[in-house]
């Protein structure tokens, strides 16, 4: 799994790390059940604080993509739907980025999605 961070980016480092893992899950480079590299090692490799890496991992856990267990480290959830979920989360992020680029407020984005949902089943 490739993790890359750009320290001068506006996106927080932890989020950048989470985005890399999400991307690897979405494109199938990283598979369900696989172990993520230990946060301590990632921190040493990237030259960032270990808590920054853990923040990224916690974000992924909150999104239901990985499990964090004491002693076992971070493991990708061994669930068939994990890859699809990672794709969906990536798509949601690009939707948000697009909307922000247009200057839309959060409420506008939500109502946009609600309208799309109300339009009925997608093709």
């Amino acid at each position: 799994m490739l993790l890359r961070v750009q320290p001068d980016s506006r996106v927080p480092l932890g989020e950048q790390i989470a985005a890399c893992v999400r991307g690897a899950l979405a494109d199938g480079t990283t598979l369900p059940g696989e172990r993520l590299p230990p946060a301590r090692e990632v921190a040493a490799s990237l030259g960032v604080n270990v808590h920054t890496v853990l923040r990224g991992y916690q974000r992924l856990r909150d999104e239901g993509l990985i499990e964090l267990r004491r002693g076992r480290g971070a493991v990708v959830r061994a669930d068939e739907s994990t890859r699809g979920r990672a794709r969906l989360l990536t798509a949601a992020r690009s939707l948000i980025a697009e909307a922000r680029g247009l200057g839309l407020a959060d409420e506008d984005v939500l109502s946009l999605v609600r309208t799309a949902l109300a339009a009925g089943p997608a093709e």
């Binding site: 993790l3 961070v5 480079t29 990632v42 490799s45």
Partner: protein
């Protein structure tokens, strides 16, 4: 005729000849042999092990056949020069030993009178070595390992960007070895006289198990291979020793003669399975490989890191 078919013939022929001459010897001596026949001899030359005549004759033939099939299979799968030579030498050794055993039994009324002295074995080793050498010469030199690599493109990295690539590798071979050693060790530990051997086997099993799974990391410092369970030992190839990287296919037995941490002329590496491997070209022309999935990405990152370092160096000079 391709090299592979020639090598198969070179290793099959001595086994065929050994079997043929052993068969002829059996037919010629059959009626002059006692039943049972002596099949094992003490260092003094006296017989101290016996087997029924038919069992002994067919057993010898079966043993030769089995060894022949094994070495032919080896020649098909891994046509290495040393295995061809070893097979030929072994065929000569077995054929000669079995025939000698029969001769020792010829014309005795009881198997206990049969005798085989150490000096009679003097010719066994030279003959085996000679046949092995002939096979070695007939097999011809091994093909130079195919050096073609997939040229890995370099990953473009921003000036301040840091990146790490990390991948776990598991070795089915080492897991199986560890499992077998552990099982055997447990059995031996239960036997009082074999306890030290059993303990040693269990320790070896633990060692094998520790290295059956590893983690490979590529970052700005270079390439690192370590056990996920222990901080040491670990293997580091610092960035300044690396010239470039690529992904290629590795055949452990043919190229490295086995599994684990291997050192061969011109190359070394951690080889725990066959297939995709990250190959780093080191300063001085040597190669370092590690079998790992997604090696193309790792190679691209290494090349990207090298390229960026090069760019920075040029700017400063």
């Amino acid at each position: 005729m391709s090299v592979h078919i020639r090598r198969l013939a070179v290793v099959a022929a001595p086994f065929g000849l050994a079997l043929l001459s052993y068969g002829l010897w059996c037919a010629r001596l059959h009626d002059r042999l006692p039943d049972p026949v002596a099949t094992h001899f003490a260092t003094g030359g006296g017989a101290d092990g016996y087997l029924g005549r038919q069992a002994a004759l067919w057993g010898g033939a079966a043993f030769l056949c089995g060894a022949g099939v094994l070495f032919c299979a080896l020649a098909v799968r891994y046509p290495q020069r040393w295995s061809i030579a070893l097979g030929g030498g072994l065929a000569a050794l077995l054929g000669y030993l079995f025939s000698l055993t029969l001769s020792a039994n010829a014309d005795v009324t009881d198997a206990s009178e049969a005798a085989l002295y150490l000096w009679q074995l003097a010719m066994v080793l030279p003959i085996a070595l000679l046949v092995g050498l002939i096979c070695w010469l007939l097999a011809g030199p091994d093909e130079a390992p195919q050096a073609e690599r997939e040229a890995a493109p370099a990953l473009r990295l921003g000036p301040g960007e840091s990146a790490v690539w990390s991948q776990a590798i598991a070795s089915p071979v080492l897991w199986v070895v560890a499992g077998l050693l552990a099982a055997l060790g447990l059995v031996l530990v239960a036997v009082p006289s074999a306890r030290p051997v059993g303990v040693l086997m269990l320790l070896t099993a633990v060692l094998n198990g520790l290295f059956a799974s590893l983690r490979v990391t590529v970052d700005g410092r270079g390439l690192m291979i370590a056990s996920p369970l222990l901080p040491r030992p670990r293997l580091r190839v610092p960035m300044r020793r690396i010239e470039g990287a690529a992904s290629r296919e590795v055949r452990p037995l043919a190229e490295f003669g086995g599994y684990g941490y291997r050192v061969r002329p011109g190359k070394s590496g951690v080889v725990v399975r066959s297939g995709e491997a990250l190959s780093a070209r080191l300063r001085g022309g040597k190669e370092f490989v590690v079998t790992v999935d997604d090696a193309g990405t790792a190679a691209a990152l290494l090349n990207g890191l090298l390229q960026r370092a090069d760019g920075v160096r040029k700017e400063h000079s």
